[in-house]
Amino acid sequence: MKANTHFAFFDEGSKKEIRRAIMKAVAIPGYQVPFASREMPIARGWGTGGLQLTLSIIGKSDVLKVIDQGADESVNAVSIKKLVHETTNVELTEETSEATIIQSRHRIPEVPLTKDQIIVLQVPTPEPLRGVEEREFVTKRMHSEDDYSGVWLMLFEQIMKYGRTATFADHPVYVNGRYVMAPSPIPRFDNNKMHQSESLILLGAGREKKIYAVPPFTNVESLAFEDYPFTVESFEGHKCHLCGSTDIFLDEIIDQQTGEKSHQCNDTSFCMDQLNRKEKVEVQTSYA
């Protein structure tokens, strides 16, 4: 027997509570708003924060795209998509520009987002100070007092140990010059996309029960020392072996048999788009 679920899985009371938390998060950019994280049909730590945000903001006219580390077709992305689709019947897409809501795990799409879109990021550890302070009431106080020497100290330690800041993802950012925020484990490559972003960025941590946000056109500055400026991952000299794109985030792929290395777009829908465009041009030129 299959029960008839409510629109978007949640009862209206739950949506109301989560929307209220979102409103507060948007009003205080970068501030982590606690919320009553619901029990979801997927396990905590598998995107429940993002899923709850998506379900509470989605409407019948929305078009949803879900990505997992840049891929539209990985298991987690597909499961989340299916769940939302089954309970809302909204249109699904893989095309970034067509989506109105994009739920993403650890990537911001390569195609620039617009003011009509909302990106929802899944967050495992929302607290940038957790590495230096375990107690929540202390980190809360540190945030309120603008005491971020702990975050700086972590970066300093990395420079001492490795000669550079060694955050491969989740490099802390200053939001609107006030709160230091964990941008979720997006690569440093994506940090700059948050700065003055046209789209609303919502971040949800289901296990840690926190919601926070970067409203459109907000300053987002990656933390960096004067003599060690912030740098993003460099793919100089590499291009996608499928579509030939450069200046995007590439995955390194190693052939198990030959041990040969090649690079490929991490954002699969972007790659597909490039290939389609190429094909179109080829078809047009061959007919002409």
């Binding site: 230096v132 007092e145 603008d146 005491d147 020497s149 702990g150 700086w152 100290l153 300093f156 330690e157 420079i159 001492m160 140990k161 020392f225 004067e226 003599d227 060690y228």
Partner: protein, 279 residues
């Protein structure tokens, strides 16, 4: 004395508990030591007042439980005072009771004006961060954002406290107690604080290391002219370091004066007992 004190403490009080009719009257408290038997309130510090002058070392002695450490914690804002005032002679802070400031302002004082060396290095250091990182923490807190600059300062300080530089990137948890204590001193000195608090710094160290640390403190005071408050129950330490000494008993100042005077010619019964029980 024509000099102006750098730190003035007036009527510092710290009590644990609400007090009752037996113990709340200031002049006539019915206490056993510092403890009220009817309500269980502990009066850790009762009306402690003193001045600290620029460049001097002020010794605080007293038996355990006499309120020395509580007083230090209050001065360093680790604990809130019940009542009392403290004034720092500083162009910005002049005339303001520092106990009444906001926690941000207190943190700024801790980062710019104060240095603290705890009895237990666990409280003063982050044991799983490198030694150089520990020193940089204080510099970062004070607004420094230049890595090369902070590294150079940390190296200089570690060198001053005789920590071999090839171990500077090691975590203090790998160090011996004496080394940890010296890293703590280096950290406390990193912002050239005009006031340094030392809480039982040599307790638990063996004699040769004790002598090393004491030498270091004396040298720092001579070279940098930092004012210090040294808390110890060890009269030997006080005799060697302190210019003036305050004797605490049950949270009250019972005697104060030049260290030699207090130790050679103690007036109060308890001080006499303390001095003569010196081995």
């Amino acid at each position: 004395m024509h000099e102006k004190p750098i730190l003035q403490v007036r009527n510092l009080r710290k009590q644990f508990g609400t007090g009752c009719k037996d113990c709340s009257e200031l002049m006539n408290r019915n206490l056993e030591k510092n403890f009220c038997k009817s309500c269980g309130t502990v009066y850790a510090c009762q009306d402690i007042s003193f001045d600290l002058y620029p460049g001097e070392i002020l010794g605080i002695v007293g038996e355990s439980g006499s309120g020395k450490s509580t007083m230090m914690q209050c001065l360093y804002f680790d604990a809130d005072v019940t009542s009392g005032e403290a004034y720092i002679s500083d162009s910005i802070l002049a005339g303001q009771n520092v106990f009444g400031l906001s926690s941000q302002q207190k943190r700024s004082i801790r980062n710019h004006v104060y240095g603290m060396v705890y009895q237990n290095p666990v409280h003063g250091l982050k044991m799983n961060f490198s030694s150089v990182g520990n020193i940089a923490e204080k510099l970062i807190a004070a607004g420094n954002r230049n890595v090369a600059n902070m590294e150079a300062t940390s190296k200089k300080l570690l060198n001053n406290v005789h920590i071999p530089l090839h171990r500077m990137k090691e975590e203090p948890r790998n160090f011996s107690g004496g080394m940890q204590q010296r890293v703590q001193i280096a950290k406390a000195l990193s912002n050239n604080p005009p006031i340094l608090f030392l809480d039982e710094v040599t307790t638990g160290l063996d004699l040769s290391v004790q002598a090393n640390v004491l030498d270091l403190i004396k040298k720092i005071q001579r070279d940098l002219g930092i004012s210090m408050i040294v808390v110890s129950h060890d009269l030997g330490v006080i005799r060697m370091l302190a210019d003036r000494t305050i004797v605490l008993l049950n949270g009250k100042v019972i005697e104060e004066g030049l260290t030699d005077q207090v130790l050679e010619d103690p007036q109060h019964e308890y001080t006499q007992q303390l001095v003569y029980s010196l081995l």
